[in-house]
């Protein structure tokens, strides 16, 4: 790894983050919004792991935090999908526009 520095990874992570934000803004299906959140979390993880590779003082911490993010993202996906299923059973649609009133 002689020529490749931290910057290309940061640019790629910024691109992933932008794609995730675009996903959040344009998708109307709730599962699509969840996919955007996954993209954003992956962008943050790429940043953390790149920092752990190129900054010696963060060598272990970056990977530890990235692992925590992976686990919390899995938990978040499980809860979010359970809520979406409940919402779909109540409203008959996965459209987030239908979620204007949520009284169960």
């Amino acid at each position: 790894m002689t020529e490749l520095g931290l910057t290309p990874f940061l640019i790629l992570a910024a691109f992933l983050f932008a794609c995730g934000v675009f996903c959040l803004a344009t998708k109307r299906n709730a599962v699509g919004i969840l996919m955007g959140v996954e993209l954003i979390l992956n962008a943050a993880n790429v940043n953390l792991v790149a920092a752990s590779r190129f900054m010696p003082e963060l060598r272990l911490e970056g990977q530890v935090f990235a692992l925590m993010v992976v686990v919390l993202a899995a938990a978040e996906a499980a809860v979010a999908l359970a809520i979406f299923l409940n919402f779909y059973n109540n409203h008959g649609s996965a459209d987030v526009e239908a979620a204007k009133e949520l009284k169960g």
């Binding site: 996903c23 900054m55 272990l60 899995a74």
Partner: protein
């Protein structure tokens, strides 16, 4: 132009193109398939950065777990096999402006940062990672408490997800069960609370 740069270019191209695919595809099924390639590409980036354990965990947890969960969510909540919810024209514009603005902002910020370049090869970190999660590092800096908190958190979340996902199904069969024929009687008895069985049968 060495091998690492070529590999990074290939993996980054796969990741970026499939991220665009996730954001731009209208069908949720296709977005899920694009998300699969994005996650595999990110795992390749981890391997490229010398984080072998994290790359394997990404493949197992994200590609093997979260993505299957998302695909099942798509399958259950879609009305048709390729049902599409139309997005308004203005939302595409707002989303595009927001995303490109954020990308420009973060890109310029990261171009102005220091550019550390690592000269030594990546050392394996799996051993140290496991030791620090178990709390037996020589320098006393460990992550035993976050590890335990995350494990209890996972348990709580799984119980909550199971409860949330089946809360509605208790109520719905009361209204719909008379129309359903051919359901095994023992199954219906087992899944219903005891006091509600006569009401369902009537």
């Amino acid at each position: 132009m060495n091998l690492t740069v070529v590999l990074f270019a290939a993996v980054a191209a796969v990741t970026a193109v499939s991220a665009i695919g996730v954001a731009a595809s209208r069908s949720m099924v296709r977005a899920g398939v694009w998300l699969l390639f994005t996650l595999v590409g990110v795992a390749g980036l981890y391997f490229l950065l010398g984080a072998e354990f994290l790359g394997a965990a990404q493949l197992i947890i994200y590609v093997g777990g979260t993505l299957v969960l998302v695909v099942f969510g798509v399958m259950i909540t879609n009305q048709g096999p390729f049902a599409v919810l139309q997005t308004k024209w203005g939302e595409w514009v707002v989303g595009g402006v927001l995303a490109s603005g954020l990308f420009a902002l973060i890109g310029t910020a990261s171009l102005q940062l220091a550019r550390p370049v690592s000269t030594e090869p990546a050392a394996p970190t799996v051993n140290e990672l496991g030791m620090s999660f178990l709390g037996v590092t020589p320098d006393g800096q460990n992550y035993l408490l976050p590890f335990e908190i995350v494990s209890v958190h996972l348990l709580v979340v799984l119980v909550a997800a199971a409860y949330l996902a089946r809360a509605k199904k208790r109520i719905e069969p009361k209204a719909e069960l008379p129309a359903v024929t051919g359901e095994p009687a023992s199954l219906a008895v087992d899944s219903q609370p005891a006091e509600s069985i006569p009401e369902v049968r009537s």
